[in-house]
Amino acid sequence: MGLLSRKVTCNSHGQDSSYFLGWQEYEKNPYHEVNNPQGIIQMGLAENQLSFDLPESWLAKNADAAGFKRDGQSIFKELALFQDYHGLPAFKKALVDFMAEIRGNKVTFDPNHIVLTAGATSANETLMFCLAEQGDAFLLPTPYYPGFDRDLKWRTGVEIVPIQCTSSNRFQITAPALEEAYQQAQRKNLRVKGVLVTNPSNPLGTTMRRDELDLLINFITDKEIHLISDEIYSGTVFSSPGFVSIMEVLKDRSLEQTPVWERVHIVYSLSKDLGLPGFRVGAIYSNDPIVVAAATKMSSFGLVSSQTQYLLSAMLSDKKFTKEYMAKNHKRLQKQQSKLVSGLEKAGIGCLESNAGLFCWVDMRHLLSSNTFEAEMELWKRIVYDVKLNISPGSSCHCSEPGWFRVCFANISEDTLKLAMQRLKSFVDSVAINNQSHQELKNSRKKFRTKWVFRLSFQSFHDREQDER
C-alpha cells in the first residue's frame, strides 16, 4: 500500500517466530490446578515467581517509605512532576550498589554512568541506536534470546550475525567461531560494530568462564569494536562457579586506562533478578561518557516511572532486605532447578549443566525422528499440543543443532513442575513403547509371517489408545 512505513509491513518484529506461537497456544488453554487441570503448562516464560513473599513482606513493613510519603510528608506532587531523564539520584545509587552487591562487591559502579530505560528491551535497542546504524552488524553467540531479533534490529536497521556455538564444548564461545562470524559479516558487506553476549546466558543458564571473557576482551581489542554484556540474569546465579562480570575481568587485567575500557557496556534490568517485569526497570551502564550522554537523551522515549523509581530506591537501599532476598532467592532457584533436572532424568532426558537463570537447556536430540529442524518442530508441536507443555524450541533461539529446548522452572509451583515432569515421562515412555513395538514388528515380519495379522491388529490397538489421550 505504501501508506504505512516498511516497519509495519515487514516481519522484523519477530512475532511470527515459534517462540511466540507457543505462548499463543498456552493463552488459548492455560493450565490451572483447579479450573483447567488438563491445560497447557507454561514453561516458556522466563519469570521468577518463587520469591514474591519477600518484597511483599518488606512492603507491609515499609509501606510509607515506599509510597508517596517521605518522613511522613506526602511527596506525591514532587514525584508526579519528576521527569528528569537523569533519573532519581537515590534510585540510581541504590541500583548501582545492588549491582555491585551481586558481583560480590569486586567491582563498583558510578551512578553517573548509569542510564535508566523502560526495561532491558529498551536498553538494548537504545544501545544499538547509539553504537550502530543501517549496514552495521553485531555478532551474537548462538543460541540467543529470540527477542534480540526485534530489539536489536527492527527499528534500528542493524543486522545480527551469529557466532555459532555447539554442544561439542557446551556451547562456549571459541576463537575460531568469533573469527568466522566476523568474516561472515565482511562477506555480507556488513561493518561489525561489536559483540553482544548474555551472561549468564539465556537460554543456556550458564555463566561465562573467565577464559571466555578474556577471549572476548582480546577479540574486541584486536578488532577495535564494542562489547555489550547483557547481565540481566546476574542475580540468578545459584551455584558455582560464581558469576564473573566483564567489568571484573577488565579490572583484574588493569585495562581501566586503555581504549577498550570505554567500549564495554552493560545492560541490566530488575525483571529477572527481582522478578518485577511489569515495572519496566532497565539500565545501560557504560564507561564511555559520550555513550552515557547520548543514551540519556534517548531514554526520553522510555523513562522509568518516577513512582516506580521511588518505590525501588527505598527497597534496594535496604541492604538487609537485598542480602536476605539474594540468599533466599538463590536457594529457591537451586531447589527448583534440581527438581527439574531430576524430573528430566527420570524421563531419560539430560540437560546442559547449569548454575544460573530461570530455565534449563534441555537435550531431546534422542527423541527426534531425524537430526533436522523439521523433526525438532514436529517434536515441539507434540510437546505443546499432546504433552501440553509450552517449552521453547532451540531453533527459535537460533541454535545450530536441532533437538535442544529451553524449559523454564521458576514461574511455576513445585506441584505444577512435578505434574509437568510426569506428563513428560509418560510421553517419553509412550514414544519408547511405540519404537519398541515398531522394532518388534519389523522383526516379526522377518521371522513370523504366519502371525503377522495378529501383531498388526495388536499394534493398531496401541495407536488408537494414544490418539484418544
Partner: protein, 480 residues
Amino acid sequence: MVSMSKIATGNGHGENSPYFDGWKAYETNPFHPIDRPDGVIQMGLAENQLCFELIKKWLMEHPEASLCTAEGVNRFKETALFQDYHGMPEFRQAVAKFMGKVRGDRVKFDPDRIVMSGGATGAHEMVAFCLADPGEALLVPTPYYPGFDRDLRWRTGVELVPVICESSHNFQITRTAMEAAYEKAQEANLKVKGLLITNPSNPLGTIMDRETLKSIVKFINEKNIHLIGDEIYAATVFKDPEFVSISEVIQEVECNHDLIHIVYSLSKDMGFPGFRVGIVYSYNDAVVNCARKMSSYGLVSSQTQHLIATMLNDDDFLHNFIMESKEQLFKRHKYFTWSLSQVGIGSLKSNGGLFIWMDLRKLLKEKTFDAEMDLWRVIINEVKLNVSPGSSFHCHEPGWFRVCFANMEDNTMEVALSRIRSFILKNNESIVPRKLCRRSSLKLSLSRSLSRRMDDFMSPAGIMSPHSPLPQSPLVRART
C-alpha cells in the same frame, strides 16, 4: 577505532536549541522565595501544578490505588508480573473513559485501540516509525513544540516541513498554507506521509474551530496522507469555545479513518509528567497492531497503570477534577493576562493550554530574530524570567514568546509580574496606557491596584499554598 552512530554523535537530539538554553540558565540560578529571591523564575516549563491538592485528597481516601499500602499490597505480585504490552484492561478502559469525558462524551473511545507509550515523547516517535520511512516527511504547522524536532526526526530519519501560520490570521492553519507546504515538500523531493497538528496548540494556547478542523480533514483525505492529532492539552481548555477533537470531526466529514491517529498523555491534563503515561490511539488496525508491538520499548509501569486505572475509574473524581482544573486554569490565566495588559503587554487571545503566547514585538529593536534573541537574553539575565523565544518554536515572525503560568505558586507569579512591571516601566514607558499613568506615583499606584485585583481573582478559600515553591525537585538532592 570504531565510532558511535551518526544519530548519537549528531545534533538531532535538538538540545542545542534556545528552548533548552533558558532551562540551563534557570538551573544554575533557580528562584526560591526565601533562599534565592533573586533567582530565575521558571516560566518555560509547561506543567500543570494547580490541582495537586485535589489529587492528594483522593489518594488519602483511596489507599488501594497504591501498591505500597496495606490495602494495596495484595495486588503487588500480579501487578509486578504484568508486562503484557496490551496493557491492563482496566487501565485502558479508564483512559478511554477519561478521553471521552474530556470531549463532553460527544465521542466514545474504544479501549482496544489504546496503545501505551513512554509519554507523548515516546508516542510521537512511535507514530513516526509506523507512518513514515527515513527520508519521508510530515507537515507541521508553525509555531510548534521544539521537542518535535527530536521526537519525530532524530532516530526515525523522517523530515519535518513547516506549514507557515501568521499572526495576521491569528496563527490559524489555512488551506493555502497547507497547500504551500505540500508543494514545497514536493519541490524538495520529499514524500509527504502526514500532517501533525497540536490541538489545543502548544505554544499558542488556542483551539481549532470546527471549520478549520473540517478543512484539515478534507485536505489530508484528498492528499491521502495521515492526520496525527496531538491532543495532550485537551482537558486544559478552561473557557468557551469548547474543545473540538478530530475524533468528533471525522464523524461529520467523509474521510478514510485509516488515516486518523491521536496522541495523548496524562502529563499536561493531569500534571503527571513523571509517571510517563503516553497513549497512541489509532483508527487504523495495522497501526494499532504495529504500535502495540513497538510499545515494548516504552510500556507504562504496571504500578502506574494500576494507580491510574483506580483513579480514572472513579467517576466522581473524574468529574470533579476536570471542573476544578478548568476553574484554576481560568483564574490563573485571567489574572495573568489582565496584569500584563495593565503594563501594555498583549498576548494572543487563548482559552487553553498552560501558557500564553506573549506579544513583545513592540519591544524589539528591529524586526529580526537576532533582536528577538537579544530581548530574550535581557529577559533571562536582567528580568530573571525563563521564557521561551518564538524562534525556538519555528515561529515565522520575531517578537513572540511563550510564557507558562500554571507551574508555580501564586506568590511566585506575583514576583514574576512585579519584575515584568519594573522592566517595562524602566525601559519603555510609552507602552503603558495613559489612563493609568501618573508619573510621580506610577509604580505605587500600579502595584496597589494590581495587588487589590489579585484578591478579586482568588477564591475566598485562597489558593496560597502553605508549602514554599521549590525551584528544583527535592528528589534531585540524593540522600546518600
